[in-house]
Symmetry: C2
Subunit: 344 residues, 2 copies
């Protein structure tokens, strides 16, 4: 290796690194339909279907904190984040592999707890655990999950494909997982200061559950089918709505306008944000880990979803030159900027 120049990884950031890898990659195989850059890779399966492939790495001390994340929930969540990526392509997950690196401080009983959560997620989503690798780790716990899913060729939905005037929809409510994390972090600090204190989580159950035990919106994928809806673009909300809207606009070559007053925020999220002197909208836009879906539809589909209890229209796609904007309650336009996760 040439050591003459050294560029710090932080100068690239995660998305920069992904783009760098992607730009050095070409697809040779006619069965590789779509590679790096969407929520999942798309592979040829048969005449009617594609195989979807998605993978995520969860690392102790970076993605989770075992002080407040029970292993059974961690196992569950590690599966969910991957199933969510398959759903984001309008696909149905079918199999997962789970690889673990485990340090000696974990007992067999602890690993059983972790797998209990993995198995619970598999059962709920009718997914099979079909493989993996286990090894020791010198430090903490590491979980690498790969999910495989299927989508019919006509249903495949990418980040690109949205058009001007398409409506932008999100599922569920947003920002709750982030506020749940704030509560858990606060109680951890209280506990560290005084180990006799019991954590005060009463009245915060919903947002804590959203953080510790998220769900993947495969239910919405089935609804799309029964409502004959074909999203024009879609991804899952893992890094916060701001980051995801920017991805959809970038891939689809559009601008967008999001209305602050339309953002679906649970009252508990809102109250807790106030308690923490945080702006709820900022939590929604930049919080992350909601694992809801954001997708676009032709305006003509509006009637099909306008009364749907789990779908909210939050804005629409605009011409690219109009930029990606948030219209505040006060009627001011702000540029949407990604924060997402900064790993490096």
């Amino acid at each position: 290796m040439n050591n003459s120049s050294r560029t710090d990884l932080s100068t690239l950031g995660e998305f920069g690194l992904i783009n760098r890898i992607k730009s050095n990659t070409s697809l040779r195989n006619k069965e590789s339909i779509i590679g790096i850059g969407d929520d999942a890779a798309v592979l040829y399966k048969n005449e009617n279907e594609y195989t979807l492939l998605s993978t995520d790495l969860l690392i102790e001390g970076i993605h989770f904190d075992l002080t407040y994340c029970p292993l059974v929930h961690l196992g569950y969540k590690a599966v969910i984040v991957n199933l969510s990526d398959i759903a984001a392509m309008n696909g149905i997950p079918q199999q997962i592999t789970v690889s673990l690196a485990i340090s000696n401080r974990f007992s067999v009983e602890a690993i059983d707890e972790l797998y209990k959560g993995i198995e619970a997620a598999c059962k709920k989503y009718s997914v099979d655990l079909v493989g993996g690798d286990t090894t020791s780790s010198k430090t903490g716990l590491l979980i690498s999950v790969t999910a495989v899913g299927t989508v019919s060729k006509q249903k495949l939905t990418l980040r690109k494909g949205a058009a001007e005037n398409n409506i932008i929809c999100v599922t569920g409510d947003l920002g709750a997982a982030y506020m749940g994390l704030q509560v858990l972090e606060r109680e951890k600090q209280v506990f560290l200061a005084n180990p006799d204190m019991q954590p005060e989580l009463f009245g915060k159950e919903y947002i804590i559950q959203r953080q510790l035990k998220p769900e993947a919106r495969t239910d919405i994928i089935h609804e799309f089918l029964s409502l004959s809806l074909q999203p024009t673009s879609m991804m899952d909300i893992s890094d916060g709505l701001a980051s995801e809207i920017l991805h959809l606009c970038h891939a689809s070559d559009t601008g967008a306008i999001i209305y602050e007053e339309k953002l679906p925020i649970d009252p508990m999220t809102y109250e807790t944000a106030r308690e923490f002197q945080l702006d709820a909208t900022t939590c929604v836009m930049n919080g992350g880990e909601d694992y809801e879906l954001v997708f676009t539809l032709p305006l003509s589909d509006y009637d099909k979803i306008k009364n749907h209890p789990s779908i909210t229209v939050v804005g629409y796609m605009t011409p690219k030159h109009e930029g990606v904007k948030l219209m505040s309650r006060g009627g001011n336009l702000y540029d949407i900027k990604a924060q997402g996760w900064k790993h490096f």
Copy 2:
């Protein structure tokens, strides 16, 4: 979690842990054909083919040592070990995903080197890098690779399926990767004791290459096709021949006899083992990381492979009650016992 009992992971070992996970797992999905327990999972693809799925985790300080393993080779090897698992099912690899956890001590240039190796392996084996995940790590480097391959339904080869009197064949030569590791470890110690010393690797090129830059025997999979050979059982040799023979016998419900004098050992492996006062046969049986294939064939296929330069017949399958034995050069029978890797 119930903390009342605590069982150390080391009491289970890696295979014990895999068996424990496997026994708690059931397949719900009719498209999940074979789950945990073979070299790769087998999934329904279409009328004529199965999809193969394999995953491996490589961790700094456990699976590799960057003191003597250049990043470009590490990237190459991380891909190869997974392609080897696909070959072991008589399949052809088509895509991989690569996830990385990287600490700040790695520069962009270092990651470029790693991907140069990944890309070189992809190019050589006509495989596409289609996805992955990148994140920071608190300590070292971690690589998680998942490989996807295809096998025609009639060609799928499992660990089970061998019958009594089937001949046992191996590809290439064995034990070289292990001896290469011994040389590299020795030179590392010399270097640590005196950083001015240059490593003495002259004359050890082949075995060092076998350790640092192994290959996957997809060439043999193509040969099977052209020779109209259908192995009755197969796996790749990653943990040493002893461990793999035991797996094949266990899965196929057979015994086996392996002839020490037949084991294919490169002269450099043999010489180096002598130099280190190691028994070359032990290195072959328990060394690991050769990434050759071991497979069984009906005796009637013997003529097709007897003069093949890359295939050696090392023994045959026996009735289960005769056990799994090594016949020494001196004519003594020894039980074959697995050592493999002990991670915990």
